[in-house]
């Protein structure tokens, strides 16, 4: 009989089949979650963009005042908000983002605020200092949490605990493509062309108060936007990964079936030869 026994091949086919069923199911779950997450991204994007545009405009026209949020201090300590996933099996989703963050914080005095179980676990086991691990479940964070978090970060920023706040998240480009990115949140960097537009803006009650009220809101909004993008990216990445896993399983099953049939055929042929030779 040729090489492997038919029984062994049969067992492997069976185990492959059950793995395929799991990956197939995971793909389907991810697709349905993706649809929901995608709708959320589409809904939150205009808010995200308008808020950023409004802040940029105010910051670029407001030469007449200074705010701690606008002043660039020498950076001693940086805070990184890292939004990853809660679960693995999502292709390179978690590892790509974490790799990016690790390369950025190398050599810097940085503290990480991880969101998502995978990020919490990774940074904890690699001895990176954590701000808080309260936001371990990325799935469950609400808009309200984002604002609370933003407010406390602003307070810490103002008290000088950090001189820079960055956010690392995964940009949802399309269902097939997601790119990890980092973005600096504070201090705000106003756009260079200060000549643009009229600079006469009425601030109610005054510019400093307006800025101090709006910045935490803005930060919360950005955080929520980034969270939506990341969630959609996670589901999309998982869907793609599971789709190719299912594909691989199918290919392997096809190969194994062929091997199985050959082995079976060989066994039969051998038997016939033996009977014929014996008579």
């Amino acid at each position: 009989m040729a090489g492997v026994s038919t029984k062994e091949i049969k067992n492997r086919i069976r185990s492959m089949e059950s793995t395929k069923q799991i990956t197939k199911a995971m793909e389907m779950v991810a697709s349905s979650k993706l649809r929901r997450a995608q709708a959320q991204v589409v809904a939150s994007r205009p808010y995200f963009e308008l808020l950023s545009a409004a802040i940029a405009k105010i910051a670029s026209t407001g030469q007449d005042f200074s705010s701690p949020y606008l002043t660039v201090r020498p950076v001693k300590k940086t805070a990184y908000i890292v939004i990853a996933g809660d679960r693995g099996l999502a292709g390179g989703y978690n590892s790509n983002l974490i790799k990016l963050v690790m390369s950025e914080i190398e050599g810097k005095d940085a503290a990480v605020l991880p969101i998502g179980k995978k990020a919490v676990d990774y940074f904890r086991s690699h001895g990176v200092s954590l701000l808080t691990a309260d936001y371990a479940l990325a799935e469950e964070i609400t808009l309200g949490d984002c604002f609370t978090l933003a407010k406390s970060l602003c307070k810490q920023y103002l008290s000088g605990e950090f001189d820079e706040i960055c956010i690392a998240y995964t940009n949802f480009v399309s269902v097939l493509s997601q790119t990890p990115a980092t973005r600096s949140l504070l201090p705000l960097q106003p756009e260079k062309d200060r000549s643009a537009g009229s600079s006469d803006i009425l601030y109610e009650p005054d510019s400093t108060t307006v800025f101090e009220r709006i910045i935490p809101e803005y930060l919360g909004g950005v955080l929520y936007g980034a969270l939506c993008e990341s969630r959609a990216s996670e589901q999309a990445a998982r869907r793609t990964a599971m789709d190719s896993a299912t594909q691989n399983a199918e290919d392997m099953i096809a190969d194994l079936s062929l091997q199985f049939n050959r082995a079976r055929q060989a066994a039969i042929t051998q038997e016939i030869t033996e009977i014929v030779a014996g008579s």
């Binding site: 809904a43 939150s44 205009p46 808010y47 308008l50 808020l51 105010i58 009425l202 809101e217 909004g221």
Partner: protein
């Protein structure tokens, strides 16, 4: 009456993107009314009723947090939450009010809990009062 273009956007999506004649919102320092031709201005929002006049007809909404800006004739309202009066869930507001009151009357509640409950109570009261303006 002259009209201006108004955009209302929240994290949940775009609520309104069209012409309006008047907008009154509650800012942190009191009500602010905007008409066409107002100078550029920016104000943070408090919690309260927003009134939008569209084609002479008044529409009310509960509008909480965020900011309003008037830039070159374009008004952008970016609140944290925004609900038209007819879309407010009064039952939910009622329940939320009761829960907040319970926490506030609890002597063992921590400072953060009290702060959150106060904010929740305020939101619930705003929603309830705006819902009467249908």
């Amino acid at each position: 009456m002259n009209s201006f273009s108004l955009k209302i956007v929240t994290p949940d999506g775009l609520f309104y993107d069209d012409k309006a004649q008047e907008l009154i919102v509650r800012t942190t320092t009191g009500d602010l009314g905007l008409l066409a031709g107002h100078m550029n201005c920016v104000a943070p929002l408090g919690m309260g009723r927003a009134t939008v006049v569209i084609d002479g007809e008044k529409r009310y909404a509960a509008c909480i947090g965020g900011m309003v800006s008037m830039m070159d004739g374009q008004v952008t309202l970016v609140p944290t939450t925004f609900e038209w009066a007819d879309a407010i869930d009064v039952n939910r507001a009622e329940k939320s009010e009761q829960r907040a009151n319970k926490i506030l009357s609890d002597k063992n509640a921590s400072d953060t809990e009290i702060r959150l409950a106060e904010a929740r109570l305020k939101r619930a009261l705003v929603r309830k009062s705006v819902a009467n303006f249908k």
